[in-house]
């Protein structure tokens, strides 16, 4: 079974599942042309979830960095955008520059925080997110709990804005997935997986563990900031308690654990499952949240590989497998 698939794939320059991905992408690009406003808005939200899930999987599933403070970058991105718009930058430029700003800020943060490991690292990042939230609330522009609306966004036609947000979200998700695909096949991606599996052994083969983890950390911070931007562009209001909320990290954990930690397709599956659950049961309030918790516990205890881990081990089919074989060797 396994070798059959291996041989079939050897003949393909592009993995077979990539064609399916291209078809889905083409369909998604066209959605605003025929779908209603509500559908476009909902799918934009799905893109935010997808981005967050893919980023958390890069961190925890591939670099072994378990963060419960990713909302720090989601919220900080929004704050930078608010400040840049206030300084006179056009909103969509502010989103992009703001996300880059978050990536730059993440560099010194990574140097300090990645010295910690495991639980200490997770807690430190959570504390960092809370400290950033409190600091942002001291900014008079944000007005503490009240928050601020990005009035500059009102200068755009609502339909144009909605569609632009949608396409930007789609571009961000597909761009990040392609980048992750190649990253995981590069020296730095292989080194990250080695660190995840055994950090001491990774050091013993010459891997500069700190630098590799920093790269993954900064990429994930950038991706979460982009997600925060798309969220802000869609909701227009910025409120520290919402944008720096721990729920974002809880969502990421849920999506990645249910979809399959450390599998390439896992976070995608997890994000879609989460999105559907929210669509169907979102109105049940506290019961909905309790249900999510229960599902997460059931998966963690009964299906630790998540949906994709189960599917991959049962069928032997690993979509966009990051495990390289000699087939990945480019021969002259």
């Amino acid at each position: 079974m396994l070798t059959d698939i291996g041989q079939r794939r050897e003949r393909l320059a592009i993995p077979g599942e990539a064609y399916a991905a291209f078809a889905i992408l083409a369909l998604l690009i066209a959605v605003p042309l025929f779908a209603g406003n509500a559908a476009v808005d909902k799918l934009t939200t799905l893109f935010v979830y997808l981005l967050l899930a893919v980023m958390w999987n890069l961190l925890a599933g591939y670099a072994g960095i378990v963060s419960v403070g990713q909302q720090a970058f989601f919220g900080l991105g929004g704050y930078f955008a608010v400040r840049l718009v206030e300084a006179g930058l056009p909103p969509y430029w502010a989103f992009f520059v703001g996300a880059l700003g978050v990536a730059i800020v993440a560099i010194p943060i990574s140097a300090a925080i990645l010295r910690l490991k495991g639980g200490e690292l997770a807690i430190a990042l959570w504390v960092l997110a809370e400290v950033l939230r409190l600091a942002v609330m001291f900014d008079p522009l944000v007005q503490g709990e009240t928050g601020i609306s990005l009035l500059a966004m009102n200068s755009f036609d609502p339909t144009f804005r909605r569609n632009l947000n949608y396409w930007l979200g789609l571009a961000a998700v597909s761009g990040m997935l392609v980048a992750a695909y190649f990253l995981l096949r590069s020296k730095i991606g292989l080194s990250a997986k080695a660190i995840r599996d055994d950090e001491e052994a990774a050091k013993s083969i010459g891997i500069d563990a700190m630098r590799v983890k920093q790269v993954f950390f900064v990429i994930a911070a950038f991706g979460c900031a982009i997600a925060g931007m798309i969220w802000l562009a869609n909701t227009i209001t910025y409120q520290p308690r919402t944008n720096f909320g721990i729920q974002w990290t809880v969502f990421m954990l849920f999506m990645v654990l249910v979809g399959g930690l450390g599998t390439f397709a896992g976070p995608i599956v997890g994000a879609v499952v989460f999105f559907l659950l929210q669509e169907i049961f979102g109105n049940y309030g506290a019961w909905y949240l309790a249900g999510l918790g229960l599902i997460a516990i059931l998966f963690a205890s009964m299906l630790p590989g998540g949906i994709m881990g189960y599917v991959q081990s049962k069928t032997g089919f690993v979509p966009f497998s990051d495990g390289m074989t000699q087939n990945n060797r480019k021969r002259p």
């Binding site: 080695a194 001491e200 891997i207 390289m324």
Partner: protein
């Protein structure tokens, strides 16, 4: 030892709390030399390797490689300089394929990229008879193949000094012969080898010089046959009072 030392340590001490794992160890390895290390369990052999490779910091003493002090360098730096160690209990990267395990070593410690890294990785798998398992998830390898992979990963980095920690245990006589041939080939290529081994006949047959450690000290040093004939060595292995 006519050649100048490539790797040496002086006054090496290591204590874990009140336990002295190493006390004042001085060792010098010549360029291209194969040095064997024997001694009973708990003699400090693996601790010595961990310190030479930079995984552990010595409590006292210094390590020099190619005449420069490397005591303060961490494991990954020393590895990139060419001091490469295999682990007594294999430490493969279980979430990766076999070839990825070797490739990542060639790219980091070996300093290679692209085609050269793939070539080094595949050559290392050939040398250790793992080539047919290249595409397998490492998790599916048995202990013996994991030991081979530990060696393959080291070879992919083309080390200048190779520290081998008990790679011969558990091999059949035929497999052991293949291993000895490989070590001899590496030695002929100019690689310096330090080898801890309990399979004594294999070690004695392939090293230039032997040291015997006991309770954190070097108790005998010299030609393999002479060391094995040493009274103190016999006593540490067989106990006192044996005629």
């Amino acid at each position: 030892m006519s050649e100048p030392a490539i790797l040496s340590c002086a006054g090496l001490r290591k204590s874990f709390g009140r336990f002295q794992a190493l006390s004042a160890v001085d060792i010098s390895v010549g360029r291209g030399e194969a040095l064997g290390v024997v001694g009973p369990n708990g003699a400090g052999k693996t601790t010595l390797f961990a310190i030479l490779a930079g995984a552990l910091r010595p409590s006292d003493g210094s390590i020099a490689f190619e005449g420069r002090d490397v005591t303060s360098m961490d494991a990954s730096q020393r590895c990139r300089y060419g001091i490469v160690r295999t682990h007594q209990i294999p430490r493969p990267f279980l979430g990766m394929t076999v070839i990825e395990n070797v490739l990542v070593a060639a790219m980091n410690g070996g300093g290679l990229s692209g085609e050269a890294a793939w070539a080094a990785a595949e050559a290392a798998l050939e040398q250790t008879e793992l080539a047919q398992h290249a595409a397998r998830p490492t998790q599916t390898l048995g202990l013996l193949d994991r030991k081979r992979l530990e060696l393959a990963r080291a070879l992919a980095m083309n080390p200048r000094v190779l520290l081998l920690d008990e790679i011969g245990g558990g091999l059949t006589e035929a497999e052991l012969e293949g291993l000895l041939e490989l070590v001899a080939r590496l030695k002929r290529s100019g690689m310096t080898i330090v080898w801890i081994e309990h399979v004594l006949h294999a070690l004695v047959a392939s090293v230039d010089r032997l040291i015997c450690m006991s309770e954190g000290r070097v108790i005998a040093e010299g030609a393999p046959a002479a060391v094995m004939a040493d009274k103190a060595v016999a006593q540490t292995y067989l106990g006192r009072g044996v005629q």
